[in-house]
Amino acid sequence: MSYKERKIGDTLLKVEDISLSFGGVKALSHVSFDIKEHEIRAIIGPNGAGKSSMLNVINGFYHPQEGLITYKGQVRRQMRPHQAAKQGIARTFQNIALFKGMSTLDNIMTGRLLRMRRNVFWQALYFGPAVKEELEHREAVEKIIDFLEIQAIRKTPVGRLPYGLQKRVELGRALAMEPELLLLDEPMAGMNVEEKEDMCRFILDLNDEFGTTIALIEHDMGVVMDLSDRVVVLDYGQLLADGTADEVRNNQDVIDAYLGVSHGDDESLEGAA
């Protein structure tokens, strides 16, 4: 993994002292960590630890009551989701959020919407520069389709696809945005071993080839240990540990809190590594 050490750059995103509550329920309290350029950052923790809330804070679905977010050197308190998207943050969802009535191709094309800059009236006339633009975007989308190996389902309405493929299309739509920061919320949940391996390969490849920075939530410890450069551990909305996969794995707090003190779990952790 040494080649990765070279690639990792400056801090891309930093969250400081983030607190978020819904009514009386504290989802996150005083969480701080950072994500560096080109790295794969995992966020782990038991159910209800606040992992998805954290992603939702980063891309603007939730607005934290306290804390600061610094993205690309700009400090912000909160942001609307579509603004986050404009600034290069793309994401996938835990419960797939695709446009079910549209085909795979159209779904991925929607990821290009922000990049279509031609005047609406040129587009309406489908004339001159607008035609060229549409073709360019189509080309970019075809590349993504090739990359994710989903050529066969190009025209299929995504509502008809099996779960694993839907996850892949959702990743494709996020990639179409050519994001700088990609947030993946349990990209491998509900997949079989083969599908998981494919997904891992895609994540590593796109990090390698395009240098995309990735923050992902995942429950499969084997996957987390294989993929990530650094790991954040959350528990009950608080930061429990932050470090490389090895550091986190050997952290006694993490072993106790995240895996429970049962020794059975402990073994599975070793096995996964």
Partner: protein, 300 residues
Amino acid sequence: MEMLFFLETVISGLLTGVMYSLVAIGFVLIFKASGVFNFAQGVLALFAGLTLVGLMETFGLPPWLAIIATIGVMIALAWLIELLILRHLVNQEQIILFMATLGLAYILEGFGDIIWGSDVKVLDIGLPQGASDFLLDGYGLYVERLEVVAAVIATALVIVLAIFFQKTRIGRALRAVADDHQAALSIGISLRTIWITVWSVAGIVALVAGVMWGSKSGIQFSLSLIALKALPVLILGGFTSIPGAIVGGLIIGVGEKVAEVYLGPFVGGAIENWFAYMLALVFLMFRPQGLFGEKIIERV
């Protein structure tokens, strides 16, 4: 002679159908962008008509200026609807949004009443009235001029809308928003912009519908009830299709006229009142997504 009469019936049906289509298109727009049946669409037409007449009568504006001002009012209204209602209902169940439009319908109706009064108003923006001489003299065919004008305007409107929504990125964004709010936000679509755009366009379509119906039979409360006639049109054409709304409107327009004239005598008349709904019921049984609607796919 018999043939000529049939032709007159069909043409008159077609032209009524154009009116239905106009109202139905307003529904389709909002349904496409928010997956919601906008109960207030009929009232929007009433409100637009009332505002137009009010501006002309109260301030003595010439028709063209009043129309531009009314368009401004409809856009402001769209902005207000987003600000006060839609914004707070993001990610809610569709039934909740539907109930909100129901509330909106009554608020608008009352609001229009308070400002412009509740009596029937005559709308005259100088559209031609009476029989079309050319057809009457040349072919002995009686066709209302106003209805011909309505058909021409509706056709132009439909062409502009179709181009706007099918060929531009707004069209794709619209479908995205209709499908999944959260996902649409995550790819950078501003719900606000889309909703204001769509409600503005729906408001302008309502204005056109209001002007056409109003020129024919005056601006009155019953205008808001044409919403109910649009429902079977939508079931026929499919809730998501603008061409569907047009074809559906025409079929129902012609169908009810022809049925009234040729079947009416045998069943005691008044077929016009229920024919559309019966046709819709038949369609619901055999083709629930309508003629042009998207197939409903649900994975279990």
